[in-house]
């Protein structure tokens, strides 16, 4: 960053988060002094690396209520989602060919399901209600004898809606269908317990929770068979080959330890800031509608539709604040977000969406500045708009 951008307020924490200084510090020795390959079985460098990985694995498992042996390291949640969906599909091909998911999953689920359709799988994409909720009854009704996988996210990264995961887990467990949950946006923000939720597979990503980029995990409940998608050296119990990314794993472990240590405290603080932001925006800007569930949502998420103006035009107009107008992954697309449209919002209205993703570094003063800036930008653009 150069010059005046230094003061930019970052409010896009669903796209990515900075690694905490404590996390980076924990990682550092593993780049240079303790740089060994955990697969090196014949010397100290390997042993030290192996032990660091074990410790981190324990910390990650502890945060989500899993056993360390149930954690498979991946390069991130995109890979975790692919491993879960492709791996379960390939493994159970002979048992059935049907997958149940929902309309507002991350692209890593939806696109991967599309690829599987080309290979003969059948995919049911459940709709969500206007708040973004999946109906557990609809999940139940969608299950057929051919169903081999249910994949429903814990919380949505655009609109923050938290799904009724426990209810869905119960249904999946009762019917004996593997239940995968993309919990990328939830872990570290709300309490996630794989046992309590009946989750069989779960994707997480360090860079969404103040850990480093390039490392994620798939929780894989003991006894769930899966077909590996990256084969070779046999690391991770032969489920995911490749030299382990030791520094990143150590950083991931540290981030999980911090998340667990602080439990709900930081989430509560962000929740209060979030409420302040919501009140401020609603008071200052008319025709501003909240997307996502009014209560069942991530403590750090708001997503507003400002009518008669375009989201890109808003975020360009808001100076010194990093905001997003859709999913971090849908760059260069001209359409409004598929998530907002899935709520039944008309295209034109959906285009006025702005996502506010709060984080540990945001303060009350920043919230007030954001309210002021967004209000100003929306007002200016509305003066320019031919609508309504």
């Amino acid at each position: 960053m150069t010059g005046n951008e230094e003061k930019t307020i970052y409010m896009d924490h669903h796209a990515t988060t900075p690694a905490l200084p404590e996390v980076v510090e924990a990682m550092l020795p593993y780049f240079t002094r303790n740089f060994g390959n955990p697969a090196s079985s014949t010397h100290e460098f390997g042993r030290v690396a192996c032990e660091a990985v074990d410790e981190a694995r324990g910390r990650i498992a502890a945060l989500i209520g899993a056993n360390p042996a149930e954690i498979v390291f991946t390069s991130g949640a995109t890979e975790s989602n692919n491993l879960a969906v492709r791996g379960i599909a390939e493994e159970n091909r002979r048992r059935g060919n049907h997958i149940v998911t929902c309309a507002i999953e991350h692209h890593a689920i939806l696109d991967t399901c599309e690829r599987l359709e080309e290979k003969g799988f059948r995919v049911t994409r459940l709709p969500v209600d206007r708040d973004g909720l999946v109906d557990p009854e609809a999940v139940k009704d969608a299950i057929t004898p051919e169903t081999i996988l249910i994949s429903i996210q814990f919380a949505n990264g655009e609109i923050g809606t938290i799904q009724p995961i426990e209810a869905i887990g119960k249904i999946a467990n009762r019917r004996g269908v593997a239940f995968h949950c993309d919990a990328v946006q939830a872990v570290g923000r709300v309490k996630v317990d794989v046992r309590k939720c009946g989750i069989d597979l779960m994707s997480i990503s360090a860079h969404k929770m103040y850990g480093p980029k390039g490392i994620g995990a798939l929780f894989l409940r003991a006894g769930i068979p899966i077909t590996p998608q990256i084969t070779g050296g046999g690391q991770e119990g032969d489920i995911r080959s490749g030299t382990l990314n030791v520094p990143a794993i150590v950083g991931f472990g540290k981030a999980c330890e911090i998340a667990r240590r602080e439990e709900g405290k930081e989430a509560a603080r962000q929740g209060r800031l979030r409420d302040r932001l919501r009140r401020g925006l609603e008071a200052g800007i008319e025709a501003a509608a909240l997307s996502g569930h009014p209560e069942r949502r991530l403590p750090n998420n708001l997503n507003f539709r400002f009518r008669w103006v375009d989201g890109e035009a808003i975020v360009q107009g808001v100076k010194g604040i990093a905001l997003s107008t859709g999913s971090a992954c849908s760059t260069g697309e001209k359409q409004a977000s598929y998530v907002i449209r899935a709520l039944g919002v008309p295209e034109e209205e959906a285009r006025g969406s702005v996502r506010f993703g709060l984080g540990r570094d945001n303060t009350e003063e920043e919230i007030d500045l954001v309210i002021e800036q967004v209000e100003r930008a929306v007002r200016r653009l509305r003066e320019m708009s031919p609508l309504p």
Binding site: A313, Q316, G317, G332, S385, P386
Partner: protein, 127 residues
Amino acid sequence: MTRPFHLSDYNKKVLDHYENPRNVGRVADADAEAMAGNPDGDRMRLTLRIRQGVIEAAKFQTFGCVAAIASSSMVTELLRGRTLDDALRLTNRDVVEALGGLPDVKLECSVIAEKAIRAALADYRKR
């Protein structure tokens, strides 16, 4: 791999027309007025004052992205002082060129300006 679009890909001129749009609003007692639309939902209202076959004033209102707003602003500048024949010859490529270029994925957003000219002049002829 090719780099995806980023807001910072907009050039200075485009951003200037977005920040300081020229000729926003509606011409009083307009001789021509039309609303144009893009499939992605952009909307542009163009109003013109025409005297002796020459466009004396052009104003716009636009719902759309940065590129759509800048294209709208620029086209009102390009239209002023032009004969109607001349105006009809303006294309979105002229607008893009006058803006010093638009990012590839945003080229389509300039088309609304061309559509608005045609629609407004059609309205003029109908009157």
